[in-house]
């Protein structure tokens, strides 16, 4: 080991070095600080509408929450009647979104698999491009498309949950493809190679290694896409219609969904209460219903996200 600091080191050199190492360029420091503050601000700024919106929906909607509201339909409820509930809309939303997911998730994930694992050449390029284009289809156009498609086969009087599900699928597929593609790309090639080297065919490698490893990411992608369509209104109005009765059958008859319910209630506006406000007639009941349904809808999305998180935790690679 070398000797201690050589006595030849002049304190002069030390001072120069100290000067070099301690003079922070104040201008750059300031820029750095300023950008940090700015970025914090950007974040805070984004939190404002989120918190505000959630606050509004919660305070406006919480008043309607009750067992009745969640378990009854609005069948035979009209005017300022504060009875009834949104059970039919909850079920409609779950069924229609569920079918849309059942259509879109396999198609979307398979397409993502195609793009990541097989895709090359013009087909892959055009699929990527048109998936981008599909993200921009206005939802009402998707609704009209599904309506015409079914009208070709069933005539114009057909209105059913299935049609709405098809319309939602058109909106949902590109989101599934985009997000799942990204997730599949994150699976390290090492794992694929490890599997190939064990003599596992490609398709089994994809199913059992690639998909299995990216389950967590895929769930996130699927949830994102569900969130994208669960709040759609316009295409469902065209394809599924409205009803205030409970209908579990997506192949026959109208269904109600939460966003449509919310929108229609808002549209009904004030109810005339001849004898003034009373327990049996609430003038702004429709607005309360609209907010209530919105709150339940957000609650459902939250719940789905929570389930997704659990799935993520369950499936995510274990490190210890």
């Amino acid at each position: 080991m070398s000797a201690a600091t050589a006595s030849t080191t002049t304190s002069d050199a030390t001072e120069r070095t100290r000067a070099l190492l301690t003079t922070a360029d104040s201008g750059r420091r300031r820029t750095d600080r300023a950008m940090q503050v700015l970025i914090w601000c950007a974040f805070a700024l984004a939190m404002v509408p989120l918190v505000w919106l959630l606050w509004t929906v919660t305070t406006e909607g919480i008043g309607r929450m009750s067992i009745d509201f969640l378990t009854l339909s609005t069948r035979n409820i009209f005017g300022g009647d504060p009875g009834g509930g949104i059970y039919h809309a909850i079920m409609g939303t779950l069924i229609i979104t569920g079918i849309a997911a059942a259509i879109s998730v396999p198609v979307g994930i398979l397409t993502a698999i195609y793009l990541v694992e097989y895709g090359k050449g013009w087909l892959a390029r055009s699929v990527t491009f048109f998936v981008d284009v599909m993200t921009g289809i206005p939802s009402i156009v998707a609704g009209l498309f599904a309506f015409s498609l079914f009208a070709l086969f069933l005539g114009p009087s057909a209105q059913m949950g299935m049609m709405g599900a098809v319309a939602l699928s058109v909106l949902m597929i590109p989101v599934v493809v985009r997000s799942c593609e990204e997730m599949l790309k994150l699976v390290p090639n090492e794992l694929r190679e490890a599997s190939y080297a064990l003599g596992v065919p490609k398709w089994l490698t994809i199913v059992k290694v690639v998909l299995r490893t990216s389950v967590a990411g895929l769930t996130t992608g699927v949830l994102l896409s569900v969130a994208r369509v669960i709040g759609e209104t316009a295409p469902l109005l065209v394809t599924v219609g409205v009803t205030d009765s409970i209908n579990f059958n997506p192949f026959d008859g109208r269904m109600m969904t939460l966003p449509v319910f919310s929108y229609r209630q808002y549209h009904q506006g004030y109810a005339p209460c001849p004898a003034g406000e009373s327990a049996s007639c609430v003038a702004d009941i429709a607005f309360q219903n609209a907010w209530g349904a919105a709150l339940v809808l957000i609650g459902i999305v939250l719940l789905l996200n929570l389930v997704g998180r659990l799935v993520n935790r369950w499936f995510s690679p274990k490190l210890r």
């Binding site: 940090q36 979307g108 498309f145 065919p201 490609k202």
Partner: protein, 328 residues
Amino acid sequence: MSITDSPPRAGTRTARRRRSSDRGFNRGFRWIAVGAGVLILVVLAAVALFLLWQAWPALTAGGDELAAEVPRFPADTSFLGYVGPLVFGTLLAAVLALCLAVPVAIGIALFISHYSPRRLSQVLGYLVDLLAAIPSVVYGLWGFLVLAPVLTPFWLWLNENLSWIPLYGGQASTTGRAMATVGVVLAVMILPIITAVSREVFLQTPKLHEEAALALGATRWEVVRTAVLPFGRSGVISAAMLGLGRALGETMAVLMIISPGFSYSLDILAAGQHQTIAAYIAADFPESTGLGINTLIAAGLVLFVITLAVNMTARWIVARRKEFSGAN
């Protein structure tokens, strides 16, 4: 043992043996995946054909005929003259939303990827993702009933004091139901999408490049500027395009907030100046019949073409500087 338990030389035969069922599955799976991709192309082609087929009568009818049959169709103009203001309004809304959302989204994405404490950032990312899950009807209700009244005084102030800026000119709306409010709501709606994608891209910045910048004596912001942002550039552009797609096609929120008009005015604080294609279709579809519906769908076709053009432009921008992209 049930695996290849073969005598010494038999192994070669195993290697030679064609496992036809395996190969069949392999090919089958491949074709299913390809089929899914093709299905998407088919669906899109079907949507495009549907639009074209339904729009055709309106596209081929003369301006006079359309003016006679379609209530909102102004006299003495062609179809292009009629959709022009709608296209303008659509683009204006999308550009406004994008201008507001992209800087904030990049800020949040950077915050989550490079600034916030690690533990916090996950929770925060989740919170922002939540914004994506709020249905557009709720955005519409909130924008109309809650946000617009709050923004009105601010808009009036801008209109009063900064009216020399073209955007703030005209007669400001006293109810806040103007393009500016729509832009804000759309910005909030597309924020989470842009944030989510940008965040992922920023997180992918190779540690190598960040450390290279640090080793040159860069401050944190300088690292972001020299390594993170240039690397994420194409990712941020795609993210912005995703957001733009959503903004272009958003229906309910715009419908419920805007006070529509059909002009080429830049006065985003004024009422009755602009309308977007998607909201226009939703607004007039219920009362339309015959040629009116065709005209609306033709407008939808135009929107489709816009989306296509926007995506192509984005690809072009990304490709133009491909050799400088972070992928190398």
